[in-house]
């Protein structure tokens, strides 16, 4: 593994905040990274908790941005959504859904348990072909900007450590245990096969 860059996927629910933050940092650190959401729709906070802005995965960040500017520029500037979208559109045009991606990864990092379950379920529901393993690790991150940033750094550190192992599969268990102790949060971890 060390000679070959890890193929990493970062997955959250809407492919907006947590996964994009990590995508941003990881790509800056030279990882081969993609980001995804697992939800059926892309949801962004709306004027009230029960009135989110809902888009489908085909909508580009640009379109969402224009839409929100039109709706209430001040509100979405203030809560950082516009800023976030701006960042996102610099990274890629639109959110992607994990379940629709057929690319193979070495490592999938999810940002909450529900997403982890969805990812593992999806991977297990696929027909196995190559038996190429993929490790899925869940790092719980609250869905707000600050936690996203902190979480992204944690993910990045984790990826770097994994990247630097001589034999990832042999050492990942121990590595995760260390990270658990260090960050004092539990990581769910499993392996699936393509």
């Amino acid at each position: 593994m060390p000679s070959q860059p890890l193929r990493v996927a970062v997955v959250c629910s809407s492919n907006q905040n947590r996964s994009m933050e990590a995508h941003n940092i990881l790509s800056k650190r030279g990882f081969d990274v993609r980001s995804f959401g697992t939800g059926t729709h892309v949801k962004l906070p709306g004027p009230a908790p029960d009135k989110p802005n809902v888009y489908d995965f085909k909508t580009t960040y640009e379109q969402m941005y224009s839409d929100l500017v039109r709706k209430d520029k001040e509100l979405y500037t203030q809560n950082g959504i516009l800023h976030m979208l701006e960042r996102n559109k610099r990274i890629k045009p639109r959110p992607e859904r994990f379940q629709s991606c057929k690319e193979q990864f070495d490592l999938v990092i999810t940002c909450e348990e529900r997403v982890y379950d969805q990812v593992v379920e999806d991977l297990n529901s696929r027909e196995q072909e190559t038996f190429q393993p993929v490790h899925v690790i869940n790092v719980d991150i609250q869905d707000n900007h600050e936690e996203a940033t902190l979480g992204a750094f944690l993910i990045c550190e984790l990826c770097q450590c994994i990247q630097h192992t001589d034999d990832m599969e042999n050492e990942i268990d121990e590595l995760l245990q260390e990270f658990e102790d260090k960050s004092s949060r539990p990581f769910l971890h499993t392996v699936c096969f393509y």
Binding site: M1, S3, Q4, D117, V120, E121, N124, S125, E127, Q128, E129, T130, F131, Q132, P133, H135, D167, M168, E169, N170, I172, D173, L176, Q177, E180, P186, F187, L188, H189, T190, V191, C192, F193
Partner: protein, 1097 residues
């Protein structure tokens, strides 16, 4: 098969079409392009090489498969590439190539076999993945072949052999390799088991071969053998899963594999469900908390996927129970059950679903029991799946009536003993309080759980009734013996052993540069440090050590900047004491380069050395420490510039001063430019290291007789200071006296010339050697006067040369003592025999500048009178003696040699005795003493500032007052007159006064009188005229030439004056010639004149 060959057909048609339609040059181009890419790839870096090789692969497999055979060898040659990625690529290529053209298996399978034993686990993993695919391909290929060639047989044998090897990799040390081996096993089981109508078939694997597609009459492939192999593989997988130390990833993988098996081969449903049940009750204790959660999550997921399969109908109750335990809601479980199955299964499902809500107490017990057995042995029955099922059922039925409250309570109590100290993570995660304990359903569940455990352990009536597998019996006996048994890889597959190796196995394509022998890398890569490291040779070791230490040394500044200097210093000190020789010297040299800045290092090193020595007591040697200290000290000395205080600091802070270190200090003291520093340090040592102070003091004392003046005097200064310390005094004195005692030897002892210089016989005492013995003593003398007696004692015994030297050197100290010193007085008083000269010398020194004290005079006088009547004693104190004593002594004194006499005079002069002396001299002037007297008086007259004209006048007056005239009277008068001509008047008066004394009766004096008159004419004329005629005649007899001038003088008188001169005188004046008138009265005139002179001085 059909589809495969069809594809090939199609491809070749396409290529034909392609070739025909376009140009032949394109084919050429493809071939050339491949050649070109391969050539480039050989020289490229890994990434580019991969890109090139991928292009080649695309070209020769997909674009133009006809080229595949041509370039196969070239591609395979890359399997020895040093890059892991390239080797992995080659494996991928083998897979693709074999899939494209099955015949290539014949050639390539051996290469894959080699790669399966690659040293890199990543390559091995890739090889396993490929074998997973190729196993099916190979089997299908063989089955398809109408007649199997020998080559094909060999190829299949090799595949079978590789399969066994991969199965054995379930025991690999590497987690990832095990994971891949599990997946291989899964695939193998699927292939080697029959597809049934209720099997889930993934679309892409529809064409895959499986056991049911094997012809039972195949010439080489044996259906029953493969069927057994499949079952054996499942058995291995199940065994692998219950290993107590299975890693969470392996467990996850195995769970997934089981789920796949259950869905694709529902015939194994029973084993799978049972394995899940066992696992759930026996989660490995090695899992961490989060891993437990992950595994449980997985288990749930797979259970649900199994539950959805229609064939799981019979096991819904067990699966539901498990899912409930895993925290899934009843409703959710129900939703997962296939709609068609629900109504049909309801009745059987019922009894268990009631108990679902209950979290059963026995789970707890089971868990505990599990913990207490380090290796729970769960041996699934490979031979009869139904047998296992019934065994558990039988045992459960057997247990059910036994689970009375009393028995259960006892079980719990017994189990309590085996509870672990801390709650295992797996238990903590699974435990939920038991809500309805004691209900029938719950007891039934408990019975079943216990039955699972017991069956797994090979116990219970169900087990006994089951088929007696020899392995199980062996296990049971082992368990009954209480032994922990490792389940994994316990036995070999018999097929591997019985495979006849008659046929030649396929040979791998060996590139000419092939360096590796197949099988050179072992199956298992167990890391042992000893395997990968080689002992360094001694010289290498030393070189590396040296370099390492040098680096630490050189890192001084960098480390100082980081504030970790103290660590470096400590490290160096520790390290250095471990090594000998050159490295130490290097380090010392390094320290000395900048001692000021590196003193902490120096001290640290020194203390470390000393510590080392202490730790090895009593056998330890000080050599290393001594060497270190010595090198530092002498290094400091060799440095040209003075290092302020560092030397002193080093000496004073060193834990121990060794002999050699002391020697360096001594050298310091002997170095004139550093003598002060050296001695200060030495002094500090003496004062601050009481335990060895005398040793240090000795060095200092030794230096007190050093040949270099500066060293000596500095040493003496320091010793004098130390002499004030009471506790050191005795030692110093003793040393000084011992040294002085050397003087009694006839020749200077070798000691004085340094050790080993044995020249005692040859060399005589010299001034220098004598002084050497006395320096210290003499500097102490003024501090302790009592010592003077020792000197006297030595003096008396010493030879003359030494005595002289002694007398020369004692001046300063004796003067320092002063004449009031009681000890000196005592010495004078006692004056040991033979020490007279010494005492005299002392007296002289004492009274040289100042008059003697009465005390001293008293002692000397005493000595002189009572013991040693040597007048020379009196000389120093002579001006302290009474006049009478002086007078008494004088006769003896003037007999001494003139120099002594002169000294005596010097002493007497300037005292109130001076006049007496001269008077005395003149008075005593007679007989044998005359010569001495003459000398003496000459001496007196030599002292003009003492014997002024006035003094002489008084002396003459006193002499006149004597009853009889001293013999030397006139001599004195004449000499006085010669010195002071203005005394003429006074002398005339004297002469006049001598006449009544009838001076002519003293022949000598008379002679002098005449001489005097002769010298003082014409003043003396009036005196002469007063002489009686007879005496006048006597005068003229002596000096006839006087007569005429005197006559002329008388004749020049006035007549009146002439009248006063008696005629007898005139007659004498004119006796021979014509006599002049008698002299009138010249006396009065003269008397006036004398008076006149007396008045004006």
């Amino acid at each position: 098969m059909a589809s495969g060959s069809g594809e090939r057909q199609h491809a070749s048609v396409a290529s034909q079409f392609f070739t025909g339609a376009e140009d032949a040059a394109i084919d050429m181009t493809t071939s050339e392009k491949v050649v070109d890419l391969l050539n480039q790839a050989a020289l490229m870096s890994t990434d580019d090489k991969l890109t090139a090789l991928k292009q080649v692969q695309e070209l020769i497999i997909n674009k133009d498969p006809s080229l595949l055979d041509n370039f196969l060898d070239e591609m395979i040659a890359f399997q020895t590439d040093k890059s892991i990625e390239v080797r992995k690529f080659v494996i991928g290529f083998i897979e693709e190539a074999c899939k494209r053209d099955n015949e290539l298996l014949l050639k390539l399978i051996a290469n894959l076999n080699m790669l399966l034993k690659d040293e890199s686990v990543n390559v091995v993993k890739k090889a396993i993945l490929t074998l997973t695919q190729l196993y099916k391909v190979a089997l299908q290929w063989l089955v398809r072949s109408k007649s199997v060639s020998e080559m094909q047989e060999a190829c299949w044998d090799m595949v079978t052999h590789m399969k066994e090897e991969v199965l054995a990799l379930l025991d690999s040390d590497n987690d990832g390799v095990r994971t891949h081996a599990i997946k291989f096993t899964e695939s193998l089981i699927i292939t080697l088991s029959p597809r049934t109508p209720d099997s889930d078939i993934p679309k892409k694997q529809e064409g895959d071969i499986s056991l049911d597609r094997l012809p039972k009459d195949h010439s080489y492939i044996r259906y029953d053998v493969l069927s057994e192999e499949g079952k054996s593989a499942l058995e291995k997988l199940l065994k692998f899963m219950v290993h107590p130390a299975i890693s969470s990833i392996n467990l996850t993988t195995a769970l997934g594999s089981l789920a796949t098996l259950a869905r694709q081969r529902p015939m194994f449903m029973s084993e799978v469900v049972q394995a899940y049940e066992t696992l759930h009750a026996n989660l490995p204790p090695t899992l961490a908390k989060s891993q437990v959660s992950s595994v449980r999550k997985n288990l749930k997921l797979h259970l649900v996927s199994v539950l959805r399969h229609p064939s799981s109908m019979d096991f819904h109750s067990q699966i539901s129970t498990l899912l409930l335990d895993l925290g899934m809601a009843q409703g959710d479980i129900a939703r997962c059950v296939p709609a068609a199955a629900q109504p049909r299964k309801r009745p059987r499902h019922e009894p268990y679903s009631e108990g679902k809500r209950i979290k059963i107490e026995p789970t707890l017990i089971e868990d505990d029991e599990d913990k207490e057995e380090p290796a729970p042995v769960v041996v699934p029955k490979p031979s009869s799946t139904t047998g296992t099922q019934s065994a558990i059922d039988l045992t459960a039925e057997f247990l059910l009536p036994l689970l009375t409250s009393e028995n259960v309570a006892n079980l719990v109590l017994i189990s309590m003993v085996y509870l672990p100290e801390a709650m295992p993570a797996s238990f903590q995660a699974t435990y939920t309080p038991v809500e309805s304990a004691g209900t029938d359903a719950q007891i039934k569940h408990l019975a079943r759980l216990m039955a699972t455990q017991m069956t797994a352990a090979g116990l219970g009536p169900g087990e006994e009734s089951g088929s007696k597998d020899p392995i199980i019996i062996r296990k049971v006996s082992a368990v009954s013996l209480g032994q922990a048994i490792s389940v994994v890889g316990a036995y070999k597959s018999p097929t591997a052993e019985e495979t006849p190796q008659a046929k030649k196995l396929p040979e791998p394509i060996m590139p000419s540069t092939q360096p590796k022998a197949p099988g050179s890398s072992g199956r298992k890569k167990v890391f042992r440090l000893g395997d990968v490291v080689q002992p360094l040779s001694d010289s290498q070791l030393e070189k590396l050590t040296n370099m390492a230490v040098k680096r630490i040394l050189q890192a001084e500044k960098a480390i100082a900047r980081s504030g970790m200097s103290h660590v470096r210093v400590k490290l160096l000190a520790r390290l250095m004491t471990q090594f000998e020789g050159a490295m130490k010297d290097d380090m010392l040299h390094f320290i000395l380069e900048d001692m000021r800045a590196r003193s902490d290092l120096a001290f640290s090193l020194l203390y470390q050395e000393y510590n080392q020595y202490l730790s090895q007591l009593p056998s330890g040697s000080l050599d290393s420490y001594e060497h270190c200290l010595f090198a530092l000290l002498s290094g400091l000395q060799e440095r040209p510039e003075q290092r302020d205080g560092l030397f002193t600091k080093l000496v004073l802070e060193a834990p121990l001063i060794t002999e050699s270190a002391l020697e360096v200090i001594r050298r310091y003291c002997e170095d004139e430019s550093r003598v002060y520093l050296g001695m200060t340090t030495l002094k500090e040592l003496i004062l601050k290291r009481p335990s060895r102070q005398f040793q240090y003091l000795h060095v200092l004392l030794d230096l007190s007789s050093h040949e270099k003046e500066k060293v000596r005097s500095t040493a003496l200064t320091f010793i004098k200071r130390l002499y004030e310390k009471d506790h050191l005094r005795e030692y110093i004195e003793k040393f000084a006296l011992n040294y002085m005692q050397l003087l009694v030897h006839p020749n200077p002892p070798s000691l004085l010339f340094g050790v080993g210089d044995d020249t005692e016989v040859a060399s005589p005492w010299t001034e220098e050697t004598v002084r050497q013995c006395l320096y210290l003593y003499l500097s102490l003398l003024p501090l302790n006067h009592r010592l003077v007696h020792e000197l006297a004692a030595v003096y008396t015994e010493a030879i003359a040369d030494i005595k002289r030297s002694v007398l020369r050197v004692i001046e300063q100290p004796i003067r320092g003592m002063g004449m009031n010193s009681p000890d000196l007085l005592l010495l004078v008083e006692n004056c040991p025999k033979g020490a007279e000269t010494l005492v005299t010398r002392c007296l002289h020194i004492l009274t040289d500048k100042v008059p003697p004290s009465p005390d001293l005079v008293e002692r000397v006088r005493d000595l002189y009178h009572k013991r040693v009547p040597d007048v020379r004693f009196l000389i120093p104190v002579i001006n302290g003696l009474e006049k009478k004593e002086v007078i008494q002594a004088l006769p003896k004194l003037i007999k001494l040699n003139p120099i002594v006499v002169k000294e005596v005079f010097n002493r007497l002069l300037g005292t109130q005795h001076s006049k007496d002396v001269l008077v005395f001299w003149c008075f005593k002037g007679n007989g044998s003493l005359l010569v001495h007297l003459l000398c003496s008086t000459n001496l007196c007259f030599g002292e003009k500032n003492v014997y002024t004209s006035e003094v002489l006048a008084v002396v003459m007056q006193q002499l006149m007052d004597q009853n009889s005239l001293p013999m030397l009277f006139m001599r004195t008068v004449i000499q006085s007159l010669t010195m002071y001509p203005r005394l003429g008047g006074f002398v005339m008066n004297i002469l006049t006064r001598l006449i009544p004394k009838q001076v002519w009766k003293y022949p000598k004096v008379w002679e002098g009188f005449v001489k005097c008159c002769q010298r003082t004419k014409p003043q003396s004329y009036s005196v002469l005229l007063q002489l009686p005629p007879a005496q006048l005649a006597s005068v003229f007899e002596r000096c006839p030439e006087m007569r005429e001038p005197l006559l002329q003088h008388v004749r020049s008188f006035t007549p009146h004056q002439q009248a006063h001169i008696p005629s007898s005188i005139i007659a004498i004046l004119e006796a021979t010639n014509r006599m002049q008138e008698p002299q009138p009265q010249p006396e009065s005139d003269h008397a006036e004149a004398v008076e006149e002179r007396e008045v004006k001085p």
